[in-house]
Structure formats: structure tokens, C-alpha cells
């Protein structure tokens, strides 16, 4: 029996492939294999002999079977290793192309400021881009003869023959949305109105379309001090720099009274603008307390309610924050520009994760 064991174990060890191994298995432990033949002889033995030979034969069978299995696994491993050796790839090759989309800075910054103002309770109001001259001017205390009207470089829609109505305008600011929202919702009110506006001007720093955000808050007892706080909070959050200071300067806008131009703190270092430091000031927006006539035009009683309004250029603050040099390029759709200044689709600004990467 030991001979048998020695014979097969050494054959198994020497087997070169799976078919040789199968031949050994049939010869050894197959139905007609040597071990099986030995098993058949058990019947002829005495019970005493059988008690010795039976377990020994079973043990032999098990031993050969495990040797076969082990050898089979080893052969499989060797075959796999052999295959993998031939499966070498040049992984420095480039991948299949995947397009990278991008979000335009105007959209990104609009979402940024929406997130900030939403936290302060401002919702987002929208309105038509073509509007009547009443909403764009008269309701905002800019009557027909007012010099501000001529200074606004307004685009007018053509009027058909026989149509004697005053021509509609492409809104020169998003302020008409304030009036429409006041009419629709009344007071108290907290809104921002972001969107495209139009002025007939084209040079290095002006494009005939650009983007503005206006803010409007109306309540019983809001003052310019609240406005200053809101703006300082906004600028600190937007530029992601703590404690940005603002400076209010008296000015005039027909739709606010008192009116102020607002500068933010900045400095120039080696030709680089640094916001929120130094003792320089840069004008960024116009603001003031809503003129009583404007409240009235929006159907709100100025004796009962008061509030503030402000307006600034979205493209402009985008340029300041992200160091974009030329306004005109915003609307040129140059792929190189879109890819360089654009934002990833999943970089959706929010306050808990931060506005920018």
C-alpha cells in the first residue's frame, strides 16, 4: 500500500498539465482505478483484516485526492501566471476622451450671491428683460425729462407704425423687478433680483449687456445701518475674507434717498488687487433708502414701511474675485476662456462647504 501511495504521489508531483493529472486520477482513484480495485478486494477479507485495510485504503484515497487537488490548483496558478505574463499593456497610453463641461462665471457668481443672501432671508425675484418705460424709469422716480434717463444709454424697442405708446426698453437695471415684486407681494419684503441688463455702450470696460444684482429689503424700521451690515457681511462672505470694511459716500440715485455709493477696502500690491486690506477704497455699488415715491409706485405705503436697496454688477464682482481681466470676453464664448474661467458642474456653491474651491 505504501508503494501505491509513493507511486501516485510521485506521478502527481511530476504531472505537467491538467490532462496528465486527469489520467493519473483515473488510474488511481477512478472507478476502475487501482484503489477501487483494492477496495473491491475488501469483500473477500476477514472482518479483522477488513478493519485494518478499510481505513487504510480510505486514507490512501483521500491523500491521493488532496494531492490531485493541490496539484490542480498549482497548475492553474502557473497557467494564469503564464497568461498574465503575456497580458502587458502600455498604461501610459491616453484614455478615451471625456468632455469636461463648465459653468459660466456669471452663473457661478449668481449662485454664490444667492446662497449668501438666502442665508440673510432674501429670496430671488425675476422679471422681464423687455419692460415698459414706466417700470424701468417712471416708477423708479425717473420722469421723462430726467437727465438720468438720457445718461443711461437706453436701448429702445422699435415701435410699429401707428403705435403711439412710449417705446418699451431693454431694462437698464434690474430695478424694475423691485417694482413688480412690490406690486405682487407687498411688504415686508426681502429680495434680490439678479439678471441681465442692457445699455448702449461698448468699449474696454462696457458691454451692451451685463449682469446686475439688486437687493431690496422693506420692513418697519430698517435703516442704512442695516444696509451697511448686510453689505459688509455679503462682501466678507463673497470674497471669503473676514471683516471686509465698506465706506459709504453720499451720492444720488433717483430711486433712493438718502443715497450712498459704497466702496470696499482694498490695496494694490505689485499691480495685484487685494480686497479687504490696506487703506485704499474701490467703488463697487450704489445704494440707499428706498425713495418714498418708489414705494408708492410699488403700492407700498411709505408712511408705514421703509427699506433699503442696493445694486452691483455681477460680472464686475466676478472679475474682482476671480481675477478675470476683460469684461468683453464674458460674452465671446471662446472655448479657451470658458474652460479656464469656468467652474466644474459639481462645484455648486454653498455656505457650509464654502463658496469656492
Amino acid at each position: 500500500m505504501d508503494d501505491l501511495k509513493q507511486k501516485y504521489l510521485s506521478q502527481i508531483a511530476d504531472a505537467g498539465d491538467e490532462s496528465a493529472l486527469e489520467d493519473i486520477r483515473l488510474a488511481a482513484v477512478g472507478k476502475k482505478g487501482e484503489v477501487a480495485l483494492k477496495m473491491r478486494e475488501l469483500g473477500k477479507m476477514t472482518p479483522e483484516e477488513r478493519q485494518v485495510a478499510g481505513p487504510a485504503l480510505n486514507a490512501l484515497k483521500d491523500e491521493i485526492n488532496s494531492a490531485l487537488a493541490a496539484k490542480k490548483a498549482a497548475l492553474g496558478d502557473a497557467a494564469l501566471d503564464e497568461r498574465l505574463r503575456s497580458e502587458w499593456l502600455d498604461v501610459t497610453l491616453p484614455t478615451r476622451h471625456q468632455r469636461q463641461g463648465s459653468i459660466h462665471p456669471v452663473s457661478q457668481v449668481t449662485e454664490e450671491l444667492t446662497a449668501i443672501f438666502a442665508e440673510m432671508g432674501f429670496s430671488v425675484a425675476e422679471g422681464p428683460r423687455i419692460d415698459t418705460d414706466w417700470y424701468n424709469f417712471d416708477a423708479l422716480n425717473i420722469p421723462g425729462h430726467h437727465p438720468a434717463r438720457a445718461e443711461m444709454d437706453t436701448f429702445y424697442m422699435a415701435r410699429g407704425e401707428g403705435d403711439d405708446r412710449a417705446p418699451h426698453v431693454l431694462r437698464t437695471h434690474t430695478s424694475p423687478v423691485q417694482i413688480r415684486t412690490m406690486e405682487a407681494e407687498g411688504a415686508p419684503l426681502r429680495i434680490i433680483c439678479p439678471g441681465g441688463v442692457y445699455r448702449a455702450d461698448y468699449d474696454q470696460t462696457h458691454t451692451p449687456m451685463f449682469h446686475q444684482v439688486e437687493g431690496l429689503a422693506i420692513d418697519k424700521d430698517l435703516s442704512m445701518a442695516n444696509l451697511k451690515w448686510v453689505l459688509e457681511e455679503f462682501f466678507s462672505a463673497f470674497f471669503e475674507i473676514d471683516g471686509i470694511k465698506t465706506r459709504f459716500r453720499a451720492s444720488h440715485f433717483p430711486f433712493t434717498e438718502p443715497s450712498a455709493e459704497v466702496d470696499i477696502q482694498c490695496s494694490w500690491v505689485d499691480g495685484q488687487l487685494r480686497i479687504g486690506e490696506g487703506d485704499g477704497w474701490m467703488e463697487v455699488l450704489g445704494s440707499g433708502m428706498v425713495h418714498p415715491k418708489v414705494l408708492q409706485a410699488g403700492g407700498i405705503d411709505p408712511n408705514e414701511w421703509q427699506g433699503f436697496a442696493f445694486g452691483m454688477g455681477i460680472d464686475r464682482i466676478a472679475m474682482l474675485k476671480y481675477g478675470i481681466p476683460d469684461l468683453r470676453a464674458f460674452f465671446d464664448a471662446d472655448l479657451r476662456w470658458l474652460r479656464h474661467y469656468g467652474f466644474a458642474s459639481l462645484d455648486q456653491p454653498n455656505l457650509h462647504g464654502g463658496l469656492s474651491r
Binding site: 484614455t95 478615451r96 476622451h97 468632455r99 428683460r129 445718461e151 435703516s223 438718502p258 469656468g342
Partner: protein, 798 residues
């Protein structure tokens, strides 16, 4: 508005520095746009006294001078012909920058002799073009600063010029006196009294004045007088200096007087040559069509209703805007008629705009000139003319009367606190208003006649806060609307637009923002370009019409990028497109454009030309992201800018179009210079029905443990049968058992013959209560075949 520091000091007694003044101006709302300070560049020049001057040993034209300076006697070589002993000169010592020659002086040797500086000419210091010799001063001590000497002896040369921007509400600051008044109220000095007594006339004005009844609302008052026997000519130097400093050209004394008061007091005046006026002057409205040659040497045709001043010969002046050439004053004028009138701002604004004349007079009258100062204007002008040009004044003729602009508003001292948020004692508030010319009677503040902008209590607050300085404002937190966590603020539609945008970007599209206006031809290709959407005053013909669709702008962007060498691109835009010219005739669209290939050539052979199914997939992805239902119809018959056979409208019923995808019509591409083909989609987010939201809870998940079974079928159908019809028919075979039907193969032609195709589908069966037996599957299969055959006329492919 420009003025010089000395002009300001003519009205303001102040010791404030130029920096203090400019800071205060900007802070007061009179924003300083620029300061030109000639003294700044001359600060380092000092006076010197030439003790001796000897010929240079090696140069005939040079002198070696010993010059006494604040740093002792210095040797200076000088080539000026007038360099000689005994004169007081201006010295630039080594290290001083000389602006006229753009050089910093150093110690040098000139032909072997050392020189420690330079003696300067006027041109070298940019004071004038004078360069015949060095400056010789009649006075001054060596070592004194030259600018101090100039300030003392020739102040105009070092007079800083300040330019400020004037907001439309502050016509009073269009006169130097108004600016001085603001500064005085701020505490930067005292406003000087500048009144003058009326000048008695010695004869009746030979020229009378009348105002037509229908013109009194535009010209309530007109003052005039003749001054005879004047000697016109160049103005005195100080007046010429004043005008030149602010960029005006001195013309002749009489004209310069009117310009002076325009800027000094915001009081435009006009002078007629009395000898050229025929008969009396009449203020009236133009009939329309009259012509006048004005002082700017242009001829204007008047429109009916515009105010004019006429004499017996016809129209002689465009009222309040510009005088006429025929009666204009010249150097030879000896008898002059001076006009001081008040013109209504609104009427001047409209007339000036219609005539397109921008004059200093129009600019001021349309913003508002002090009506009450009309009679004083003529007296001040008379006084100045008599002082410098002599002559004899007539009595003043007056037509109409000074309009009554008196009004008063309640000063509520608490309003400054409630509106601005600054605490200013009432006494300070009253003092501020008084300094600005308001008259306080109890708590009523009478508005000065020169402040047409003050129209209510809020204006009083503005004045008080402005003078006190808004820089003192301290921020105060804005209370939250609700306590606790802020609520979301975006409307479902606003969120939808954000989602659509970010989905498109995630699909690999680059977002563009293009102009809302576009050229007529491109607009016309997309169903627009009509008069309804035409701009009256476009800035160029490329931007003449509101865009009817986003695609023309994207296609133009694609053409520009192709011209830059980019062949493959995916662009998108989210924004309004305009169906008409009325407010609200606009709709937000989301459009994507694919041009070229899916990517550059690559080793995997993966890049291929973009096709309609790319655009369809992206359109479906965007729609899905914004909550559109999964079950839609794909219909044909979209607008003509799509390829007629290669597009589809994604619809809920024939009239509810959620979006369109397809290939852009080759003719459109050719017209827009885009190398095609190009695939596109447009989504109309507002058309997607809003979900009936009943909370965030999802329906319970229904899953079966039973094995799903898939069976394939292939049908031969007519080539124009649409796959979706077949799929829907198969799905209808057993709605509870059939989970999904997918097309996995389309085969056209070959053995099928002309006009036929084979569509192969996989039908997935998902039992829910018992395992499917072969018989069940057979039964459903038969039903699928039956339904499909009925719906499409197709047959099961053998």
C-alpha cells in the same frame, strides 16, 4: 464741473488743505474725479540769487555763476543769454526733477567746469512756452520755495484745478458758490458774502421784452437791460485765467462775463449785440420749421412748441440753450443787451434733446437754475461789465415774475436715526440745514430756492446725514425674518434652471452667455428678425434684433471657435429667448450644441462624429434631471431650422413640447458659416409639468424575489415604422408582467428587400406572484407578436 482752488476761495474763507477739501467733496457726494495741482511738480524748486557770473573758460555761450541758495553758494553753469550777476532766479538743485525736460538734475562737469544745479526757464517748469531765458524774479529771498513765491505773486500759476462729478440732483453745485456752501456746512470754512447792490439805470431800455401767454409756463420771468457805450475786448487776466483753468476759451469780455457767472453761480446769462436786435424781444413758442444759425455756427430747424426769443427779424435765440449768431456779441459791440431769464427744466431738457445741442446753458437749465437769483444775476453781470468795460446801464426791463418755489418740510430729528441709523443731535441738524440755506421756522424747514431736488422730509434727512458724513455710519445686524434655520428661497422653477445648467455641464457642455440681441439675418433663420423684436437704436447691425432662440447665438459662437481652430465642441446656454417685444414675451430655454467629433482621434478608436442620438441622450438627461416624466412621445414636425428627417420633439401630447433634439438644418449651418454637421437640443423648462408634491416620502419599493425572464423577438416592419410604436405595442401585451422592452438591433435592407427593416427587441418579464412556466412565457410571447403585428403591420422574423 471744474473749478480752481482760488476760485473756490473767492467764496469760501478757509485754511483747509487741498487734500482736506477733496476728501470732503467726495464724502459730501460731490465726487472728485481729478485734481490737477501744478504746484506738486514744482515743490522742490527754490529761489537763488546770482552773485557773480563769469564767462566759461572753454565755451563762449556759457556762464559760470555763483548762486546763493539755501544750501550756501553753489556754482552753476548756465547757457541762458540773460544769466548775469544780480538777478533772482529759480534753482533746481541736484536731485530735483525738472518736468519740462523730463530730467533729474545731477552734479556734472560741463566742459571741465563743475556745475551743481540748474537755473530754470518757464518752459522747463511747464509754466508756459517761454524759453528765451531763465526766469528773473522781481522779488524773493534765496532759499524760498518757488511755489510759495508764485502763490504770493502769481497765484494762477499754482492754482490747483479740481474736477468733480455732479449728480443730477445737485444743480446748485454746478456753481462754485454751491460747492463752497457745502464745504462751509461741513465745517471747512466760512461762506463769504458776495452780494452786490443793484445798479441804477439811467435811461429806459430801448429794447423791450414780452412773454407770450402760452410760454409763461416755460419762461415765467425774463430780466434784461441795455448797457451802452461799453468797450469790449479781451478780458482782464484773472478772468482769462479762471476760464482757461477750467478748459474754456476766453472769447471776449462780454461773452466771458456770461461764462463766468454760468460757473460761478450756476446762472447762465446771454448777451445780445443791442444794435443788431430789431425792435423788441419776444419770448414765445416756435411754430415749427423756423431756422436759426446759432453761436456754434450750425443751423437748427425748430420744432413746434420749442421756446425761442425773437425780434422783428425773426428767431434770434434758442431759449435757454444757445443764442443766435445774427445778434451775437463781437469785439466791436458797443451796446449790449444782457439777458437773465428762468427757463423750465423739463421743457429745456426736451428741446435740448430734440435739437441735440449740448451747451453749458442747457446742461444747467435742465437740471435747475436758482429762479430767485434771476434778478441778482443781471445786477452782478452789470456790475462786472461796468467795472471792466465801462458803459451806461439802462433800467431793467422785466417780463413775468419770479416763480414761487417756496415750500417747507417738517424736520423730524428722529428720522435721521430711523432712516439712516446715525445719532445726530437736533441742534446739529438744525445748524447743518441753516448752513445749507434752509430757513427754520419752528420744526418747519423752508427749502432754499437753489435746491429744486429737496422735495420731502427724506431729503432733509439726506442733507443732514450727508453733511455729517456717512463714513460715521456703523453697521447694525439685519434681524432674521424667522428664528432658526433659514428656509429655502428658490422657486421650483429657479431650482429647475440651476439643475438643468449643472446637468448640461456635467454632460460635458461648456456654458456660454451670449448677447440677447443678434443680427436680423440670423434671427430670421430661427423664426425671428421681425419688427416686433427690432431694437430702435442698436449699437451695431450685428445686434439689431432680440434673439428668438438660443441656437443662433451658440452657432455663431461655434463658428468663432472653429475659426480659432477648435473643431470639436459642446456648448450650451441657459437664458431667455424672445417671441415678441412686449414684457413677458420671453421664455427661458436650455440649448446645447454639439459640433465635430466626440473627441480627438485616440488609440482606442472611440472618437466618432457626433450624431442625433448624442443630442437626444443629453436632452433626455436634462429633462430627467428637472423632473420630466419618463414616458414621452417623440413627434416630428419641429421648426424649419431642424433637419427634416433627423429631429424629434419630446412631447406630452401633440401640443405639449418639452424639448426638441436633432441635427441642425445644413442650410442654416451654411448661412451661419458653421462647418457641420451639428447636433443640438433645446429644452423648455417651463413646459415640464410641476410634480404634485405631497412630501418627500417615496412610494414603497416593490421588488420581487422571483426570477425575471428575458425573451428576444425580431420583427420585419416597413422602414418608416418607428421603433417607439413597436416598443409601446409590445409593452401593451401584458402591462403587469412586462417590466421593460428594449430595442437592441435595427437591420435595414439585405435579404429583407426594399422598404423593409428588422427591429429586434428584448422583452423582460417580471412575475410577481409565481414563477413563470414555459406555457406562461409562450402565452405572453404570442400576445406580444399579436400586439406588434396589429400596431405596425410587421411580422415575426423567421
Amino acid at each position: 464741473m471744474k473749478f480752481t482752488l482760488s476760485w473756490l476761495k473767492d467764496h469760501l474763507d478757509t485754511t483747509a488743505s487741498i487734500d482736506e477739501i477733496t476728501y470732503a467733496l467726495t464724502d459730501l457726494g460731490l465726487e472728485v474725479e481729478g485734481v490737477e495741482n501744478p504746484a506738486a511738480k514744482l515743490a522742490d524748486f527754490t529761489l537763488g540769487y546770482v552773485q557773480t557770473a563769469e564767462k566759461h573758460p572753454d565755451a563762449d555761450r556759457l556762464n559760470v555763476c555763483q548762486v546763493e541758495t539755501d544750501e550756501g553758494v553753489m556754482q552753476i553753469i548756465c547757457g541762458a543769454p540773460n544769466a548775469r550777476a544780480g538777478i533772482t532766479v529759480v534753482v533746481a538743485k541736484p536731485g530735483v526733477y525738472v518736468p519740462g525736460i523730463d530730467t533729474t538734475i545731477g552734479v556734472g562737469k560741463i566742459r571741465g567746469v563743475e556745475s551743481f544745479g540748474m537755473m530754470a526757464s518757464e518752459r522747463e517748469m511747464e509754466l508756459s512756452e517761454e524759453h528765451d531765458g531763465i526766469i528773473e524774479l522781481p522779488s524773493g529771498k534765496p532759499g524760498d520755495r518757488f511755489i510759495d513765491w508764485l502763490a504770493e505773486n502769481d497765484p494762477a500759476k499754482v492754482d490747483p484745478v479740481i474736477e468733480i462729478a455732479i449728480t443730477p440732483n445737485r444743480p446748485d453745485a454746478l456753481g462754485v458758490r454751491g460747492i463752497a456752501r457745502d464745504l462751509a456746512a461741513r465745517g471747512l470754512g466760512k461762506l463769504k458774502p458776495r452780494d452786490c447792490d443793484a445798479v441804477e439805470g439811467s435811461f429806459a431800455s430801448p429794447i423791450g421784452v414780452s412773454i407770450d401767454e402760452d410760454t409763461l409756463d416755460g419762461c415765467p420771468v425774463f430780466y434784461g437791460r441795455v448797457i451802452r457805450g461799453v468797450k469790449n475786448g479781451p478780458s482782464p487776466q484773472w478772468l482769462q485765467d479762471c476760464l482757461r483753468a477750467i478748459g474754456l476759451r476766453p472769447i471776449s469780455f462780454l461773452v466771458d462775463v456770461t461764462n463766468f457767472f454760468t460757473f460761478d453761480r450756476n446762472r447762465p446769462l446771454h448777451v445780445f449785440d443791442a444794435d443788431k436786435v430789431k425792435g423788441n424781444l419776444r419770448v414765445h413758442r416756435a411754430k415749427g420749421g423756423e431756422e436759426i444759425a446759432a453761436l456754434d455756427e450750425k443751423t437748427y430747424t425748430l420744432q413746434a412748441g420749442q421756446m425761442v426769443i425773437s425780434d422783428d427779424s425773426g428767431v434770434e435765440s434758442i431759449a435757454g440753450i444757445m443764442g443766435g449768431e445774427a445778434t451775437g456779441v463781437t469785439e466791436d459791440t458797443v451796446n449790449v443787451f444782457v439777458e437773465s431769464a428762468y427757463w423750465d427744466p423739463v421743457q429745456i431738457a426736451y428741446a435740448g434733446r430734440a435739437l441735440k445741442i449740448n451747451s453749458d446753458a442747457r446742461y444747467r437749465f435742465e437740471r435747475g437754475v436758482d429762479p430767485a437769483w434771476t434778478p441778482y444775476g443781471i445786477e452782478h453781470a452789470t456790475r462786472m461789465i461796468l467795472d471792466h468795460a465801462g458803459g451806461e446801464p439802462s433800467e431793467v426791463v422785466v417780463a413775468g415774475q419770479v416763480p414761487d418755489t417756496r415750500r417747507a418740510y417738517k424736520l423730524d430729528a428722529a428720522k435721521v436715526q430711523s432712516l439712516v441709523g446715525m445719532t445726530i443731535p437736533e441742534s446739529d441738524q438744525r445748524q447743518t440745514l441753516t448752513a445749507l440755506g434752509f430757513q427754520l421756522d419752528g420744526d418747519m424747514a423752508q427749502v432754499p430756492s437753489w435746491r429744486p431736488d429737496v422735495q420731502g422730509e427724506a431729503d432733509l434727512v439726506e442733507e443732514v446725514a450727508r453733511i455729517a458724513s456717512l463714513t460715521q455710519l456703523q453697521g447694525k445686524p439685519l434681524p432674521r425674518l424667522t428664528t432658526g434655520v433659514p428656509r429655502p428661497v428658490l422657486s421650483p422653477m429657479q431650482r429647475r434652471v440651476v439643475t438643468a445648467r449643472r446637468t448640461a455641464a456635467a454632460l460635458g457642455y461648456n456654458e456660454c452667455v451670449t448677447y440677447s440681441f443678434i443680427d436680423q439675418a440670423s434671427a430670421a433663420l430661427f423664426g425671428g428678425g421681425t419688427d416686433e423684436t427690432r431694437l430702435e437704436n442698436p449699437i451695431s447691425s450685428d445686434m439689431s434684433h432680440m434673439r428668438p432662440d438660443l441656437l443662433p447665438g451658440l452657432l455663431q459662437a461655434a463658428a468663432r471657435n472653429q475659426a480659432r481652430g477648435f473643431a470639436d465642441m459642446a456648448l450650451f446656454e441657459v437664458g431667455p429667448a424672445f417671441s415678441g417685444g412686449e414684457p413677458g414675451e420671453e421664455q427661458i430655454m436650455v440649448s446645447g450644441l454639439l459640433v465635430g467629433r466626440t473627441g480627438p482621434r485616440d488609440v482606442h478608436g472611440a472618437a466618432r462624429a457626433v450624431d442625433v442620438f448624442d443630442a437626444k441622450a443629453d436632452a433626455e438627461a436634462v429633462l430627467s434631471a428637472i423632473g420630466a416624466p419618463a414616458k414621452v412621445q417623440i413627434l416630428r414636425g419641429a421648426a424649419e431650422w431642424w433637419h427634416p428627417g433627423r429631429h424629434g420633439k419630446i412631447c406630452l401630447g401633440p401640443k405639449k413640447v418639452l424639448g426638441v433634439f436633432g441635427e441642425v438644418h445644413p442650410r442654416v449651418l451654411a448661412a451661419m458659416d458653421v462647418k457641420g454637421p451639428a447636433m443640438a437640443f433645446t429644452i423648455y423648462p417651463a413646459e415640464v409639468p410641476m410634480p404634485r408634491k405631497s412630501g418627500a416620502t417615496r412610494p414603497a419599493l416593490q421588488i420581487s424575489d422571483l426570477q425575471a425572464v428575458e425573451r428576444d423577438f425580431a420583427f420585419v416592419v416597413d422602414a418608416d415604422v418607428e421603433a417607439l410604436t413597436l416598443v409601446n405595442a409590445a409593452k401593451g401585451a401584458d402591462k403587469s408582467l412586462i417590466d421593460d422592452v428594449r430595442v437592441f438591433d435595427e437591420f435595414i435592407g439585405g435579404s429583407l428587400g426594399e422598404g423593409k427593416k428588422s427591429l429586434a427587441i428584448t422583452v423582460r418579464l417580471q412575475p410577481s406572484d409565481k414563477t413563470l412556466k414555459d406555457a406562461d412565457i409562450e402565452a405572453v410571447g404570442a400576445k406580444v407578436v399579436e400586439k406588434v403585428t396589429k400596431a405596425t403591420g410587421g411580422v415575426l422574423r423567421g
